[in-house]
C-alpha cells in the first residue's frame, strides 16, 4: 500500500464514523424538522398532509405565539441585564481588587451552573411555594403577618418569578468567562494607568471594558441562544406555561403542541421560528455591539 493510500485510509477511518453519526443525529433531524413543518401531522405515520406554509400562516394568527415571543424576549432582556452586571462586577472584583480567597469564590459561584435545570426548578418551586416556601416565610417574618402570595400561580408575578432562578443559575459561567478575558489583559496597561493616577472606575471604563468587549459580546449572544433554547426546561418544571399562558415561551409551546396535543407539523414550525429568531437576534446584536477591535501588541 502506498503511503498516500495509507494516509487516505487513516483520515477516512478517523473522520467518517463521527461524520456518519453526525449526519444521522444532527444534519438529518435538522432537515426533517424543516420538512415536517410543511405538513399537518399528528405523528401517526399514515395521515401526513402537505399544507405548504400554512403552519407558518397559522402561527402569525396565533395570539399565544406572540405572548410566548414577548415572554422569551422579556426573559432574555432581564437575563442579559442581570447576569452581565453581576458577572462583570464579580469578575472585576476577583481580578482587580486584590481580594483574598478569589479561588474559593470562583469555585463556589459556579455551583448553580453544575445543577441540573430540573434541580434548579424544583428548588425554586419550593422557594415560591405559597404555604411552606421560603419567600413567603421570610416576607411573613419581616412584615409580621402571614403572606401567602402564589408567586407562580398568579399571572401578575409568574413571569417575573422565573427570572431569579435563571439569573442565579447563569452568573457563574459568564463570570469565569470574563475573568479569563480580564486575566489576558497585559498588566503593563494597568501599571501605566496607575502611574497616570487613573482610579478603579476609570481603569474599568478605559482599559478593562474595551479590552474584554469581545467576550462581553460572546456572553450576550450565548445568553440569547441558551435562553431561547433553555427557557423550555425551567418553564416545563416550574409552571408548564401557566397560569393561562402567562409564562408561555416558544420552547415550551413547541413541546406542548408536539407531545401533548400532537400537532407535530405546527410544533416543527415553532422550532423553525426559534431558529430564525435566534439567528436574527444574534446578527442584530453583533451589529449593535460592534466596536473598533483594539489590538494589543
Amino acid at each position: 500500500m502506498t503511503s498516500q493510500r495509507k494516509r487516505g485510509l487513516f483520515i477516512a477511518s478517523f473522520i467518517l464514523p463521527t461524520f456518519v453519526i453526525y449526519c444521522i443525529f444532527t444534519l438529518y433531524p435538522i432537515i426533517r424538522a424543516l420538512y415536517i413543518s410543511l405538513f399537518e401531522w399528528s405523528g401517526a405515520s399514515d395521515n401526513m398532509n402537505y399544507i405548504g406554509f400554512n403552519n407558518f400562516r397559522d402561527m402569525f394568527a396565533d395570539p399565544i405565539i406572540y405572548k410566548a415571543m414577548v415572554n422569551d424576549y422579556f426573559l432574555i432582556f432581564w437575563k442579559v441585564f442581570g447576569i452581565l452586571i453581576a458577572a462583570l462586577f464579580f469578575a472585576v472584583a476577583l481580578t482587580r481588587f486584590g481580594m483574598r480567597g478569589t479561588g474559593f469564590y470562583r469555585a463556589v459561584f459556579f455551583f448553580p451552573n453544575v445543577l441540573s435545570i430540573v434541580v434548579i426548578a424544583v428548588l425554586w418551586r419550593f422557594i415560591y411555594n405559597p404555604s411552606y416556601g421560603f419567600l413567603n416565610g421570610i416576607l411573613s417574618f419581616i412584615l409580621g403577618r402571614p403572606v401567602d402570595i402564589p408567586w407562580l400561580g398568579d399571572s401578575t408575578y409568574s413571569i417575573w418569578a422565573l427570572l431569579p432562578p435563571a439569573i442565579w443559575a447563569g452568573i457563574g459561567f459568564y463570570m469565569l468567562l470574563l475573568i479569563a478575558a480580564i486575566k489576558s489583559i497585559p498588566a503593563s496597561l494597568y501599571e501605566s494607568a496607575e502611574i497616570d493616577g487613573a482610579r478603579q472606575w476609570k481603569q474599568f471604563t478605559h482599559i478593562t471594558l474595551p479590552l474584554i468587549w469581545e467576550q462581553v459580546k460572546v456572553s450576550v449572544v450565548l445568553i440569547v441562544i441558551t435562553s431561547l433554547n433553555g427557557s423550555f426546561a425551567i418553564v416545563s418544571v416550574m409552571t408548564e406555561g401557566g397560569p393561562d399562558n402567562a409564562t408561555q415561551v416558544l420552547g415550551y409551546y413547541l413541546y406542548q403542541m408536539g407531545f401533548k396535543q400532537y400537532h407535530m407539523g405546527y410544533a416543527s414550525a415553532i422550532g423553525v421560528l426559534i431558529l430564525v429568531l435566534s439567528l436574527v437576534t444574534t446578527f442584530v446584536l453583533q451589529r449593535l455591539m460592534k466596536k473598533e477591535v483594539i489590538e494589543i501588541s
Partner: protein
Amino acid sequence: MKVNRINLPARLFSTLLLFIWTVCCVYPLIFSLFDSLKDNQQFYSGNAWDLPKLPLLWSNFSYTWTNYNFGYYFLNTIIVTVGSMLLALLLTATTAYVLARFTFRGSGLLYYLYLASLTIPTLMLIVPMFFLFSDLRVNNSYGGIILLYSITTMPIGMFILLGFFKSLPRELEEAAIMDGASLYGVFFKIMLPLAMPGLITISIINVLSFWNEYQYALVLLSDAYKYTLPIGLAFMQGEMQYRIEFGPLFAGLMISTIPILLIYIIFQRRINEGIVAGAIK
C-alpha cells in the same frame, strides 16, 4: 498581576457583595439537605429555614431510592453518562486530531459545518429526533441516547481539542514515523497521552451536561424504568400535586445533585480551563 489601590468603603462593599452571593450559592444546597431530613409535619408547622428535628429522617433517602425508583434513575444516569463520555471522547479526539494535522479535500468545510451546528437551537430537533428514534427502534434504549449525547457535545469538544493538538510539537510525530510507527500508533501511543489534560477537560464538561440533560431524555425515554435522574425528579415533582412529600422530594434532589457536585469540586480547575479554551475564540 499587579493589584490596585481600592479604598476602604469600596473594599468593604465588594466583600459584602461577595459574601452575600456566596450565601446565595451555597445556602440553597444546605437547606435542601436539611429539608430532605424532615417529615411533612415539620413543613406544615415550622419555617422552611428551620433545622430538621431529631431524629434526622435519613429514611427519606431510602424511601425515594426504592418507592420513587431513584435506584433505577441513578443507575441509568451513570450508564448513560459514562457511556456517552467514552464514546464522545473517541468521536471527538479522532476528528480533532485529523483536523488539526491533516488537510484534505473538504477539511475546511467539515470544520465550519461542525462549528456552525453550535448555533442550532437543539429544541427544534426534539420532534424529528423522537421519530428518528422510533424509526431506528431505539426508543428507551441506552444505545440510542448514548449515540445522541456523544454527538451533541462533539463540536464544542472538537473545537477545544483541536487547539490542544495544534499546540503539541510536530517533531514527536515525525520522529515516530521515522522509527517506523504507523499513523494509528502515533495517535494512540503518542498524541493521546500528550493530549490527556485536554481529554480530561472535555470529559468533565461532557459529564456535567450528560448527567443533567433534560430535553432529549424527556421526549425519548417513555419507560419509567429507563428515566434518568432529571426526568425522574421532574416526574416526582409532578406527583406532588397528588401527595405532598417534601422530605423525599428533597432527598431526590440531593441524590441528583451530590455526585455531580463532588465531580465538580474535584475537577474544578479543569472546568475553568475548558471554559477559557472554549469561549475565548
